[in-house]
């Protein structure tokens, strides 16, 4: 079956981020979206450790370990960017000032519940970071994930079985096989990857999909 690779998924998410948006990209896969935001489009990237106007990675040898992103990787600051403390940073999220955040996920339910912080396995050391604040704080929360696990199970589900990050907080899910809107009305197929039908997606996910 035809499927998007990670760069194609990132490019697809980037298409939906308009000029002027204040955006937080979660660590891991969503970070790739940065590479596909057109330079001529002014977008404000926020990193929850305390910067707005985040630029690309520095050239080798130019790293400043006091200028890092939420993934603790060295970054740069664009002209016009600024720094702030953690309470202000999370006020930007919780207060609804961030337009879009893009997060990875273990599971998303058709009504928009998100599970992305903890497998719930005994012995796992839990870590949550800013995931819960971002999920419920941003005006729109997008998820970017493979539709299926390596074992072939759907990550778009009727109800999450992993511990929740936030309730009814996700509005759109970008996957390697299609794009879905989720919410109170259930899941809706926005588009499919070439060669993938809506019926294919229904079979793979086992959930009710409007189209």
């Amino acid at each position: 079956m035809n499927r998007l690779n990670r760069d194609q998924m990132a490019a697809r998410v980037a298409r939906d981020i308009p000029e002027g948006s204040y955006v937080n990209l979660g660590i891991g896969l969503p970070t790739k979206v940065t590479n596909y935001l057109p330079r001529e489009r002014e977008i404000f990237l926020q990193s929850e450790n305390g910067l707005l106007g985040m630029g690309p990675a520095p050239a080798p040898g130019e790293e400043d370990w006091e200028l890092i992103n939420a993934g603790k990787q060295p970054v740069t600051l664009l002209a016009g960017g600024c720094y702030f403390h953690h309470a202000d940073s999370f006020a930007m999220m919780r207060g609804g000032h961030i337009d879009i955040c893009v997060l990875g996920a273990f599971q998303v339910s058709v009504n928009g519940d998100l599970a992305n912080w903890h497998t719930g396995e005994p012995g796992a050391i839990p870590a949550v970071g800013g995931a819960m604040d971002l999920a419920i704080g941003a005006r729109q929360t997008f998820v970017m994930m493979d539709l299926l696990t390596k074992q072939g199970e759907s990550k778009l589900v009727g109800a999450c079985t992993y511990p929740l990050t936030g309730l009814a907080c996700v509005s759109r899910v970008y996957t390697d096989l299609g794009v879905f809107d989720v919410g109170p009305q259930g899941a809706f197929v926005v588009e499919t990857v070439d060669g993938v039908s809506i019926d294919d997606l229904r079979k793979l996910t086992g959930v009710s999909l409007a189209a």
């Binding site: 990193s47 929850e48 450790n49 305390g50 910067l51 400043d64 370990w65 006091e66 200028l67 890092i68 603790k72 600051l77 720094y83 702030f84 403390h85 953690h86 309470a87 940073s89 999370f90 999220m93 919780r94 903890h118 012995g123 050391i125 839990p126 870590a127 949550v128 970071g129 800013g130 995931a131 819960m132 604040d133 419920i136 704080g137 511990p163 929740l164 990050t165 936030g166 309730l167």
Partner: protein
């Protein structure tokens, strides 16, 4: 004359006691006050409750404090990382307690303590494991979780420049928790790369007003010198 300068990192932490609650600034290693922590390790006190975003990275700073067995409890948002081996080992051995707090709630609870707020209702965490057993309030159609302030006996933070009254400016993303931890602790201790004369810091740009700082100690930082 009011002079909050301590002669050394050791002098700055000399009254930190067994069982103290200590906030430590930093997000990963950015803003981690390594020399104050080294002095705390050398002081030999233990049974500490540490409030930080993480639970130590690599072998320095908070990771070293945990490695030396001085920490009874960590209150943090993101303990598990590729280089958090000393926390991981202590956690699995059952020698360290973890209170996991969503990062924004951690910041808000610290800020509440510093601002004299009795508790906060936060939307973050509602409906999750981290809100289990906590009071929930519906306000204007949205659900909130009751969370209490986090106070501390001491805060150890790193800033860029300070003066003898304790006014501080920070450097880049090393600012992170410094300003709010300074407010929330009974005794806030700042290590700075440079102590400058009164009036040298632009009053419009002071981030932490000196009222929140009890001690400041100058420790030249290789990173800052290079920059």
């Amino acid at each position: 004359m009011i002079d909050k300068q301590a002669a050394s990192a050791e002098a700055a932490v000399a009254d930190i006691f067994d069982g103290a609650a200590v906030m430590i600034g930093g997000f990963g290693t950015a803003g981690m006050p390594d020399q104050l922590i080294d002095a705390l390790i050398a002081r030999g006190v233990g049974d500490l409750t540490i409030i930080n975003n993480n639970a130590g990275n690599g072998e320095t700073g908070l990771a070293a404090l945990i490695r030396e067995g001085r920490v009874r409890k960590v209150i943090c948002s993101f303990p598990r990382q590729a280089d958090s081996q000393h926390f991981d080992a202590a956690y699995r051995a059952g020698t360290i307690e973890l209170e996991l707090v969503p990062q924004g709630n951690l910041a808000a609870r610290i800020q509440a303590a510093g601002a004299g707020i009795g508790a906060i209702f936060t939307p973050t965490g509602y409906g999750t494991l981290l809100a289990e057993g906590k009071e929930i309030r519906e306000i204007d159609g949205r659900h909130y979780v009751l969370e209490y302030p986090i106070h501390a006996d001491f805060a150890l933070i790193k800033a860029h420049r300070g003066d003898r009254w304790g006014n501080l400016v920070y450097r880049k993303t090393a600012r992170n928790f410094g300003p709010i931890m300074a407010m929330a602790a009974r005794t806030a201790i700042a290590q700075v790369a440079e102590i400058v004369p009164l009036g040298a810091l632009d009053p419009e740009a002071v981030v932490t007003p000196g009222i929140f700082i009890q001690r400041v100690v100058e420790i030249a930082s290789a990173a800052v010198v290079a920059a």
